[in-house]
């Protein structure tokens, strides 16, 4: 069964790009969220196998959302999408419970190799 993915990013452009990457890689994208608040709701509703999470987003940051999701679902696999130069934010996210991270701008193969490694494929 394909891995079910939730994509969280405030930029539609970014969401589209990540969705395409996952679709090409044989993953099943089951939902998208445009901010941290939505992310927490969507996660509750969909229980994805994997969540990609932007860090800087309106209403609720990816770090906050991660913290909340992990509090209820300690096993959740969350991969942060960080922009260049956000290393300290990434570390904060890891402390909040994020499983791993990818750095924008990224190439398709980078995303897939990180994600496959993380989920153990």
């Amino acid at each position: 069964m394909a891995t079910r993915v939730l994509i969280v990013d405030d930029a539609i452009f970014m969401r589209n790009m990540i969705r395409d990457i996952f679709a090409n890689g044989g993953f099943e994208v089951i939902g998208e969220a445009g901010n941290g608040l939505e992310a927490v709701e969507k996660f509750r509703e969909l229980k994805p196998d994997l969540t990609t999470m932007d860090i800087v987003m309106p209403f609720k940051s990816g770090i906050e959302a991660t913290r909340e999701i992990i509090a209820d679902n300690p096993g959740a696999v969350i991969v942060m999408c960080s922009a260049l130069g956000q290393e300290s934010l990434v570390m904060e996210a890891i402390e909040a419970g994020a499983t791993d991270f990818i750095v924008k701008p990224f190439r398709e193969e980078d995303v897939l190799s990180v994600v496959r490694k993380v989920i153990g494929n």
């Binding site: 570390m91 890891i94 701008p105």
Partner: protein, 715 residues
């Protein structure tokens, strides 16, 4: 600030070597006499040894070299007990010679640096304990027995080690492992890493220290981050957390703080890696297993498990072979620890060559990609290895050029005393952060501007004592010099609590000097007026004196600092004091660039300046700011800023948020291309007149790229 003793290290080592040599020579002289040594000569030699050891003990303690002071103390104890005796039996003499030799080895180890973890000679301590016990025994049994018991014991001990001595000499207290320390085989060799360790400097165990149980094993793991990692610091951070699932991480080099603050070099994490001391013994497989799901890890090596404390039978497992042999070979220790003076120009040349090597290997790497598999793959792999080595070389040459600011700070107290005398001011100077390091070339070039700023602060800023008292200030004028590292820059601040710059006076001066009209001068804000102090020929001092009033001061300070790639900022609160802030690059040579496409051109931005790269609108539509994470940041179309064709189209595009010395700015670009480490070349005439350009660099592909100087671009 705790006084930093590291600058006394060289002196200490010279001194300590002399002490040890004197002790060894004296003892050897006694040894060369046939038969048992007697009489006044013994007395003389022992007095000399006692004095030397006592002196060494104290200075080693001040320097924080506990194993040295402990061992010196123990030898001193034995010598002390022998002083009252008629003769010095030969086996005991041998113990003393061996012990001083071990002391010498420790001194040589210490010369590597103030944070060197010394490996104390367990067997020598055992011998000394045996000698001590035997002396006690012979004291209680017979004064004239000649120490037959201990002589046998010590002789046995020097032949077959401590175990024999222990057997022969009941009752014995356990061997004092005064200062037995864990020393990983890797830790001393990493440039720039020593001293960053999170481990306390003295992990040494004291006698009777209940908390330090024997055989507390530690596994030393080295992890290297892949060159492809987009965020190597965060990657290392995550790897360290994974390792923590196996056991407590005792220490990490570079330290966690260095990772979090961004002080640690990403290159180090790739070329050298980071090292973790993990509680407990773990197999290589177990360690690789916990890291197996982590991408962007280049290699995981288990450097061995090192017992923190070795008992007698496990001594051979100690990481360093020192100094278990009878004659520690000190000659083999010396070369790596000695220093050689090298001309800065030679280092420059090395750096340039190393930089060229980086570029050349990048080019080979790109070419290797064109070679078909399987040869191509193997070639690429080998070239990757070559690139890592070259990068490490580059890093080490850079590290060799780094010197502490202490070198500058050391000159100041003298200057302050002189100024205080000549200007009849009472002055105090507080220095903070003198251990921050800068490229040696920068330090030398900075001496003049800094000294000038100090003179200026005292001469123009600090009031005479009577005036200070009237103003309700302490009679003594205070100066603070502080340095701290912030990403790829060093902030050097000179603050005083004097009268501050007088903005009106600067306006008047500028008008009188014909630099501004009255109206122009009055239109300036106070902050802008302060910058007038940097105008050539302007001095707020009415009378020229030989301290700082010739008006060739602050403009020269600014000019020199800008040449070094830095800036100077003045801040002042009238009546309360002023601050001169130097913002300096730590090194001028190798930078990690973010490459961006603007129109058809490539531009590079030093990564140290980049705060965030984000998606944003294609056009600003007349707005001058961009909202990033809920904050309005001044924004520019980068193409427009550098005079290239302006970006058209409304599709979202990348925006790079940069730090322009405390002020943030966002640049809209057409595309982000990637990162590359390059050697920054300064611009030659007349290109160096272009504001906003820091230099040029040649990419691995051979393509030249302009590197932006962020603060001056938006300033």
């Amino acid at each position: 600030m705790v006084e930093d003793v590291s600058r006394y290290l060289d002196l200490f080592v010279v001194d300590a070597r002399e002490h040890v040599a004197a002790v060894e020579t004296s003892l050897a002289r006694l040894e060369s006499c046939a038969g048992e040594v007697k009489g006044s000569e013994v007395r003389e030699v022992l007095d000399e040894c006692f004095r030397r050891l006592h002196s060494l003990k104290s200075s080693a303690a001040i320097m924080g070299f506990e194993p040295i002071s402990t061992l010196a103390h123990r030898i001193e104890d034995v010598v002390e007990r022998l002083r009252g005796r008629e003769s010095l039996p030969r086996p005991l003499l041998e113990v003393l010679i061996e012990a001083s030799s071990a002391l010498g080895s420790l001194v040589e180890q210490s010369s590597a640096g103030i944070h060197t973890k010394l490996t104390p000679p367990t067997s020598v301590h055992t011998l000394l304990t045996a000698a001590d016990e035997a002396l006690t025994k012979s004291d209680t049994t017979s004064q004239n027995a000649g120490g037959r018991d201990w002589r046998t014991a010590a002789a046995a001990a020097s032949v077959s080690g401590s175990a024999a001595a222990l057997e022969l000499l009941p009752p014995l207290s356990p061997p004092t492992s005064g200062g037995t320390e864990f020393r990983s085989p890797e830790s001393p060799g990493l440039p720039g890493l020593s001293g960053m360790s999170g481990a306390p400097a003295g992990e040494s165990r004291r006698e009777g220290d209940a908390a330090a149980s024997p055989n507390h094993p530690v596994t030393v793991v080295r992890v290297r981050i892949s060159e492809r990692a987009g965020a190597p610091l965060a990657r290392a951070f995550l790897a360290k957390r994974r390792l923590e699932t196996l056991g407590t991480v005792r220490s990490m080099e570079p330290s966690l703080d260095a990772l979090k603050s961004g002080e640690c070099s990403p290159t180090t994490l790739v070329s050298v890696g980071f090292i973790v001391h993990l509680d407990g013994v773990h197999s290589t497989e177990a360690i690789r297993e916990v890291l197996s799901r982590l991408p962007e890890i280049d290699s995981v090596d288990v450097l061995g498990d090192s017992p923190l404390v070795a008992d007698g039978s496990e001594e051979k497992k100690e990481a360093t072979p020192q100094p278990e042999q009878n004659q520690p070979d000190r000659a083999t220790l010396k070369p790596s620890e000695q220093t050689v003076k090298v001309r800065v120009e030679l280092l420059d040349m090395l750096l340039e060559l190393a930089g060229e090597l980086v570029l050349a290997s990048s080019r080979i790497h790109d070419t290797a990609r064109l070679v078909p598999a399987p040869t191509g793959e193997r070639l690429e792999e080998q070239v990757d290895r070559l690139r890592l080595l070259v990068k490490e070389l580059n890093y080490r040459v850079l590290a060799a050029r780094q010197s502490p600011l202490q070198l500058l700070a050391d000159r100041l107290p003298l200057v302050i005393r002189e100024l205080s005398r000549r200007l009849e001011r009472k002055l105090s100077l507080h220095i903070d952060g003198a251990d921050v390091t800068l490229d040696r070339g920068l330090i030398d070039a900075l001496a003049e501007p800094l000294l000038h700023a100090v003179r200026n602060a005292v001469d123009h800023g600090i009031e005479p004592p009577s005036e200070r008292i009237l103003a309700g200030k302490p009679e003594t004028g205070r100066l603070w010099l502080s340095a701290r590292r912030e990403r790829d820059r060093v902030l050097l601040e000179l603050r005083d609590d004097g009268r501050g710059f007088d903005a009106n006076r600067l306006r008047d001066k500028a008008v009188r000097a014909g630099a501004l009209t009255r109206a122009q001068a009055d239109a300036l804000s106070d902050e802008q007026a302060l910058r007038l102090a940097f105008l050539p020929g302007l001095s707020t001092r009415d009378k020229v004196n030989d301290i700082s009033g010739r008006g060739v001061g602050m403009d020269a300070v600014l000019q020199v600092t800008e040449q070094l790639g830095g800036t100077v900022v003045l801040e002042s609160v009238p009546g309360q004091g002023s601050t001169v802030r130097f913002v300096l690059p730590t090194t001028v040579s190798v930078v990690n660039l973010l490459l961006m496409r603007v129109g058809d051109e490539l531009l590079g931005l030093p990564m140290g300046r980049v705060l965030v790269a984000t998606e944003g609108p294609g056009q600003l539509h007349g707005r001058r700011t961009l909202e990033v994470s809920g904050e309005e940041i001044p924004a520019w179309d980068l193409g427009k800023l550098v005079g290239w064709p302006v970006h058209t189209g409304n599709a979202p595009r990348p925006w790079v948020v940069v730090d322009a010395d405390g002020q943030r700015a966002a640049f809209g670009v057409d595309a982000l291309i990637g990162q590359e480490e390059v050697v920054l070349r300064p611009l030659s005439m007349p290109l160096d007149r272009i504001r906003g350009l820091a230099g040029t660099a040649i990419l691995g592909s051979g393509r030249p790229v302009f590197v932006l100087d962020v603060p001056r671009l938006v300033g």
